[in-house]
């Protein structure tokens, strides 16, 4: 509608009215020419000329800012009167008694922040009381702007900043590499991955609007004024954290110290729960991470076994054996690293991952595997040169490479110890990446056990394949302390069933949560494994049993024959089945891991 009061500062001459006279064809023409005229008129947009407010034009000549927002009177009492003082920060406050679930806040946030088509930074859920007095309550949630923001603590590239004055947890979009770890870290499902841009984005409490004295999008759009911005005292939040984001079904606030306060005069009965508490849905699988984790753990296991075996004298120090073994170790490690990079939304900036080393296990994992890759490559080069040197013409260029020094390096125990330790440490970092999240299925030492057992199982199976290969090729003399390669292979084959039973046993433990009374994340995971993920779960166990138990036991029963390539084939089959099983296990690790969430988020 038109602003009728002219702005005294601007010339208020109206623009000439655009003619809306219909064309002649409309009176005189035949059918087809009328169609043409209408099609043309249909494309002719006249709203601006005919109606766009005179006010618009008056304010616009130099593109000058348009003064006070018209909604200000609606929201001025929903903002704090002052800026936060030291020891305070901004926070959302929701008056549940005024929220009726219209969800305007979600769409307003979307529109006013120019989010992409399906991107939302706020969500509205429902909690209800099923048994007893009927009660339901809609709940609007966005970023909690936590005192201990898990997203920020986990970020490997320091793409999050908690503002010292406002307390707003802001995401630096251009710093983000799109690793999505913050999504796994946040118990409130706040950071949203943007596929097109390869980064996550999140609510910044409309910091620009707050700075200009305007209300955040959600605050200014709530028809019933249910959302406001308040100042909270940091000390009070820390002391009284249970009162924040305190809703039935809400995640444990101790983890991040959220700041949103939900107020209501109602008293929620004990049976109150999220309306979607029983909804189970597969989680995102993260395929690159599945392969990266499995392969990197195989590499680490293989390296640890190779170095321990070599140092203890159980493995032959034959240069060729060592060269091939280390080449495999380096190749596996580098392959795992390469796959991990494909997981990133912006892989070009992966190098920034060193920045978060002090706080982020993901950063540490990346650094540890980086070092592992480097050291494994050095050792692979050293052993390769050592193996090749005697076969070379002394006159060749390689002679200038100081093969003796490489040989010294290849046999240096400190380097091998370092490599093995880094391998173990790297897997530990991997496990900690997941343990350091608020997800019940991951946040236990079971994750470490799984990762190390995967490493041991696949690493030893890999070593078995190597040993069997050398055994079959008959390269002599290949004898370690414990006897022939044949004996070694026998020992390795014997280890597999024990490891696989230990691993599958650990994994199966989750099914006991089916009997849990309440719909906790572990019960939901178990339900998923029995439900939507049943097929993958069955084949995970089948593959593990076939590759790690059945095949080795059969082979042992038949008597490890030392019949050359048949043994290699056996080892290859066992390894393939084990790897498939471990990849499936890792798929379930992601797909069945139900995160904590705000109701309906």
């Amino acid at each position: 509608m038109i602003e009728r009061k002219p702005d005294p500062l601007s010339p208020s001459a109206p623009l000439p009215q655009k003619s809306v006279q219909p064309s002649l064809a409309r009176f005189l023409g035949d059918g087809p020419s009328l169609i043409g005229a209408y099609l043309q008129e249909q494309q002719d947009l006249t709203a601006v000329e005919r109606f766009s407010s005179a006010h618009d034009r008056m304010l616009d000549p130099g593109g000058a800012p348009g003064g006070t927002p018209r909604l200000q009177s609606h929201y001025k009492d929903l903002l704090p009167l002052e800026k936060p003082r030291p020891g305070q920060q901004y926070a959302f406050e929701v008056d549940l008694d005024r929220c009726t679930g219209c969800k305007a806040c979600v769409t307003a946030c979307h529109n006013l922040n120019g989010l992409d088509e399906d991107e939302t930074w706020r969500s509205v859920g429902l909690i209800h009381n099923v048994i007893g007095k009927p009660l339901q309550q809609t709940v609007t949630t966005a970023c909690q702007h936590c005192l201990e923001p898990a997203c920020s603590h986990g970020c490997p590239v320091k793409a999050y900043e908690k503002d010292a004055v406002t307390g707003i947890v802001k995401h630096l979009d251009d710093q983000c590499i799109g690793c999505e770890y913050c999504i796994l870290k946040c118990p409130y499902d706040v950071p949203q991955y943007h596929h097109g841009k390869g980064i996550v984005r999140k609510c910044d409490m409309c910091v620009g609007r707050l700075e200009a004295g305007e209300a955040p999008a959600c605050v200014q759009s709530c028809p019933t004024k249910a959302i406001r911005i308040t100042l909270v005292d940091l000390a009070e939040v820390r002391q009284n954290y249970a009162a924040y984001a305190a809703l039935p079904g809400a995640p444990d606030p101790a983890y991040t110290m959220p700041t949103t306060r939900y107020r209501t005069v109602r008293k929620f009965p004990d049976g109150m729960e999220a309306a979607d508490a029983y909804k189970v849905k597969k989680e995102k699988a993260h395929y690159p991470l599945i392969f990266m984790l499995t392969l990197s753990q195989m590499a680490a296991g293989f390296i640890a076994a190779l170095e321990a075996g070599s140092l203890l004298g159980w493995l032959p120090m034959d240069p060729l054996f060592q060269a091939v073994g280390h080449a495999l170790a380096a190749a596996l490690t580098l392959l795992a690293i390469a796959i991990s990079i494909t997981h990133l939304g912006r892989p070009l900036y992966a190098f920034r991952a060193v920045l978060g080393f002090r706080r982020s296990w993901l950063s540490r994992e990346i650094v540890a595997f980086g070092i592992l890759g480097a050291v494994a490559t050095i050792l692979a080069a050293a052993t390769a040169i050592t193996a090749l040197a005697p076969r070379l013409d002394p006159a060749s260029s390689m002679a200038h490479w100081h093969p003796a020094r490489w040989a010294a390096l290849a046999s240096a125990p400190w380097l091998r110890v370092t490599l093995a330790l880094v391998a173990v440490l790297a897997v530990h970092c991997s496990a900690m990446v997941y343990r350091d999240t608020p997800r019940a299925m991951w946040a236990t030492n079971l994750t470490s056990r799984k990762f190390f057992l995967t490493g041991a199982l696949t690493g030893l199976a890999g070593l078995l394949l190597l040993v069997a290969g050398f055994d079959a090729s008959g390269t002599a003399p290949l004898i370690g302390l414990i006897g022939t390669l044949h004996h070694l292979a026998l020992g390795l084959t014997l280890a597999l069933p024990l490891l696989v039973i230990a691993k599958l046993g650990s994994e199966a433990g989750i099914h006991r949560h089916l009997d849990d009374q309440e719909a906790n994340p572990l019960k939901k995971a178990a339900l998923l494994l029995r439900g939507d993920l049943r097929f993958q779960n069955i084949w995970r166990f089948n593959a593990g049993l076939a590759g790690g138990f059945l095949l080795p036991v059969l082979w042992l029963y038949r008597g490890y024959a030392g019949t050359g390539w048949a043994d290699v084939a056996f080892a290859a089959a066992a390894l393939a089945l084990l790897l498939a099983g471990e990849c499936l296990e890792r798929y379930l690790f992601f797909a069945a891991c139900v995160p904590p969430r705000m109701p309906g988020a």
Binding site: T100, T107, G114
Partner: protein, 747 residues
């Protein structure tokens, strides 16, 4: 920048392309901060195109096209607020299944695009041939409450006066027919008396079968602005969002609202809680009504409704005279086999307590669709334009004179109602059907009946903005429409406010506004001379303005579109006399246009005697009661503020899709669920005698034992509903049918 700084930025980048994409800049035009890349170069306001609340949306324009929107802070309806549908109103325009060319179903059964010329020839040739062979009554149309009134009016006079059809109806039959008839019989004209300010000025608000928190969130905004700490009473079998937000909830048994209302009247009369002076001065038929409700003893009514006598008495006490009581209803009442009598029983309560014509009072029907009111007044279907009657010779003459047509062209009785048209199709009497901007293959009660009937048609034309609605999939000919935001016109909201649609976005492909399509059909039919004064929507508006003169809905004081735009919408009546400053009817003399205007301040109604009439009748039995085989009563309704009707538009927004349940669901009481071993989230099959629907169970005590609730937005629901109709309004009863529910064995 030296190398060190460069390295620092390289490692930790605070600014750049991605950051810039999210930058907000001070908005002009009083908008506050807006995304920089969507910074408008002008704005213009228009009315939202979904529901009858009729919110004003400020469209952000860039290079002459809409790029974004925000609710208009100055529009008197919504005061800067909108529900999710309003915020997302521009998104469905860009959907890739827009109809972009006329399409004809070929031999292969597939729709293929054709030129407009060919489509229009096919349309007129086939319909002319059908009428020549089978008579005027063999062709009918079904339209909508979603398009502006100029288009509805043009359609009505094109079909009935130009083409000579007898039968046409609109989907307003499915939502507002009951209120239309109830008001007409009680007040003498279809005139919702209220203005939204009444929400803010009531002491007691009673909602019958209405869930404004979800269905009309912006009206609920106005309730929340009420400073009088009002008592809010909700009468609904289900514990809706509104019931939870209310101060009292009366969960009566389904379809016992009429006995409840008569019981309340009984108590009010017995206790002397009535305004006898008002009754005597302004109404007729009270004595008969009082006699009628004599038998509705509170004890018996308490039993029938399941509320008990004590709660009934408590309810009556709350609405007795002395306070400003406003009574509101919507689809829970309208979509009933006895909706008209129920609505009138509500009107009677307002009349007998004198709660009408004053701030914060009224018997107020909350409308459904954005232009249901425009359809009710001008669609030329159940009545002649301007709320006139086909049966009235004087009315026919007035219309003929203004339109410059022969009076004899005008039929002397209204055509068939929606359900009767479909019966005609089923029985083969109607051979060609033209459907405009509505989706009966989803929305019609007992949907399969419609789908079966549609197979009988020689020609089914569907005119819609999408080529793949459930109904368009059945069509022989699809005509592509421009939609809200792509055309101009006036719509009338719940409080009688006329607001504007504007053209802010180009229509895709060859889509044309319904107005142009009707004009083209007139041209190809050969009757375009009749509409020569109606070359643009605004010219047509002027013709309609003439038709309104002297009618209760007189809006002849409205000069043009620009005036509506400048005033932020204008509520009818607004006659030329009033515009000149004179006192008219209930509106005292004043300068300028009041922003909030209500009817009947002077106690004068529209019956010839100036009085309102008490209307009543005995309650009818529930058409399909529950049985041991179908032991549940199925209730239907809205489930989220993010969905509109058959979801053809709202389903096109990715954001709105996030705001409603992805799967169909059915609410079931925990006792029933545990008895049937159904858990929340389980797939279940709901069956009625007519069909079945698959849905996920949502175990919740919001429904009572023995009742189920399913959202109307899911296409499966109307496979179940029972085709019962109100005898007075022919409105389908969507809110009650008998079903059973069982676990889906295949899930």
């Amino acid at each position: 920048m030296d190398l060190k700084d460069k390295f620092a930025v390289f490692m930790r980048q605070r600014h750049g392309r991605l950051t810039h994409e999210m930058v907000l800049t001070p908005g002009r035009f009083g908008l506050g901060q807006t995304p920089d890349r969507l910074q408008p170069d002008s704005t213009t306001s228009m009315v939202c195109g979904f529901c009858s609340t009729g919110c004003g949306l400020k469209i952000h324009m860039k290079d002459g096209k809409a790029v974004n929107l925000t609710p208009d802070p100055e529009y008197p309806v919504n005061l800067g607020m909108a529900c999710p549908k309003g915020w997302e109103a521009l998104t469905p325009l860009k959907a890739d299944n827009r109809a972009v060319a006329p399409m004809i179903r070929g031999e292969d059964g597939k729709l293929a695009p054709v030129e407009w010329d060919q489509a229009l020839h096919l349309f007129t040739d086939k319909i002319k041939a059908t009428m020549a062979r089978h008579g005027k009554e063999s062709v009918a149309f079904l339209s909508t409450g979603q398009i502006p009134m100029e288009e509805l009016f043009l359609l009505g006079i094109l079909t009935k006066f130009g083409m000579g059809l007898l039968h046409g109806d609109a989907n307003t039959r499915q939502c507002m027919a009951t209120s239309h008839v109830a008001y007409k019989q009680s007040f003498g004209f279809d005139a919702p008396p209220f203005t939204y300010k009444d929400y803010e000025e009531s002491d007691v608000l009673v909602f019958f079968g209405a869930n404004p928190c979800i269905a009309h969130p912006i009206m609920w905004e106005r309730v929340m602005m009420n400073p009088r700490k009002p008592e809010i009473i909700v009468v609904d079998p289900r514990q809706t969002e509104t019931a939870l937000a209310a101060t009292r909830h009366y969960p009566l048994l389904p379809k016992t609202d009429l006995p409840l209302l008569y019981g309340l009247a009984h108590v009010l009369i017995r206790e002397g809680w009535i305004d006898q002076a008002y009754i005597d001065a302004n109404t007729t038929g009270f004595r008969e009504f009082a006699r009628h409700v004599q038998t509705y003893h509170p004890a018996a009514v308490g039993k029938i409704t399941g509320l008990g006598e004590a709660r009934l008495l408590e309810f009556a006490r709350a609405i007795r005279p002395g306070k400003r009581v406003s009574l509101w209803w919507t689809m829970g009442v309208n979509q009933s086999h006895e909706g008209v009598r129920t609505a009138q029983a509500i009107i009677n309560l307002a009349l007998m307590t004198g709660n009408i014509g004053r701030p914060g009072t009224g018997a107020n029907s909350i409308t459904g669709q954005v232009n249901a009111m425009g359809s009710r007044l001008f669609s030329n279907t159940s009545g002649l334009p301007g709320g006139r009657n086909f049966q009235d010779a004087a009315h026919r003459r007035e219309v003929a004179d203004i339109l410059g047509i022969d009076t004899d062209i005008i039929q002397q009785k209204p055509g068939l109602a929606y359900d009767q048209i479909l019966t005609g199709v089923k029985e083969g009497r109607i051979k060609a059907l033209w459907i405009i901007a509505t989706n009966p293959a989803h929305s019609w009660v007992d949907q399969e009946e419609f789908r079966r009937a549609a197979k009988n048609l020689d020609l089914l034309v569907v005119q819609d903005m999408y080529h793949d609605t459930d109904t368009a999939r059945l069509a022989h000919l699809v005509l592509p429409s421009a939609c809200w935001g792509e055309k101009e016109g006036v719509v009338i909201n719940s409080e009688r406010r006329m607001g504007l649609f504007k053209k802010v976005s180009p229509a895709p492909g060859q889509a044309l506004s319904d107005f142009y399509i009707f004009k083209l059909i007139a041209k190809y039919w050969g009757c375009d001379a009749m509409f020569k004064d109606m070359d643009t929507p605004e010219q047509t508006f002027q013709v309609m303005s003439k038709l309104s003169v002297g009618r209760p809905c007189d809006f002849s004081g409205i000069r043009d579109y620009k005036m509506i735009d400048e005033e932020g919408g204008i509520q009818w009546p607004y006659s030329a006399a009033e515009a000149a400053g004179a006192a008219t009817g209930s509106i005292p003399a004043h300068a300028g246009i009041e922003k909030e205007r209500r009817l009947f301040a002077d106690g004068r109604f529209y019956h010839p005697d100036g009085k309102a009439k008490f209307q009543f009748g005995p309650p009818q039995p529930i058409p399909e009661p529950v049985t041991p085989e179908f032991p549940f009563a199925l209730l239907t309704g809205r489930s989220s503020s993010a969905q509109w009707h058959t979801n053809t538009r709202t389903g096109k927004s990715a954001v709105l899709r996030k705001l409603y349940a992805a799967d169909s669901y059915v609410e079931i009481h925990p006792d029933d669920a545990s008895h049937l071993k159904i858990a929340s989230g389980d797939w279940v099959i709901v069956k009625s005698l007519r069909g079945q629907a698959r849905a996920r169970a949502a175990v919740a005590s919001t429904v009572q034992p023995g009742q189920l609730f399913m959202p109307m937005h899911d296409v499966e629901v109307n496979r179940l509903t029972f085709p019962a109709f109100d005898t007075h309004s022919r409105q389908p009863s969507y809110k009650h049918c008998a079903v059973r529910v069982e676990k889906d064995a295949d899930a």
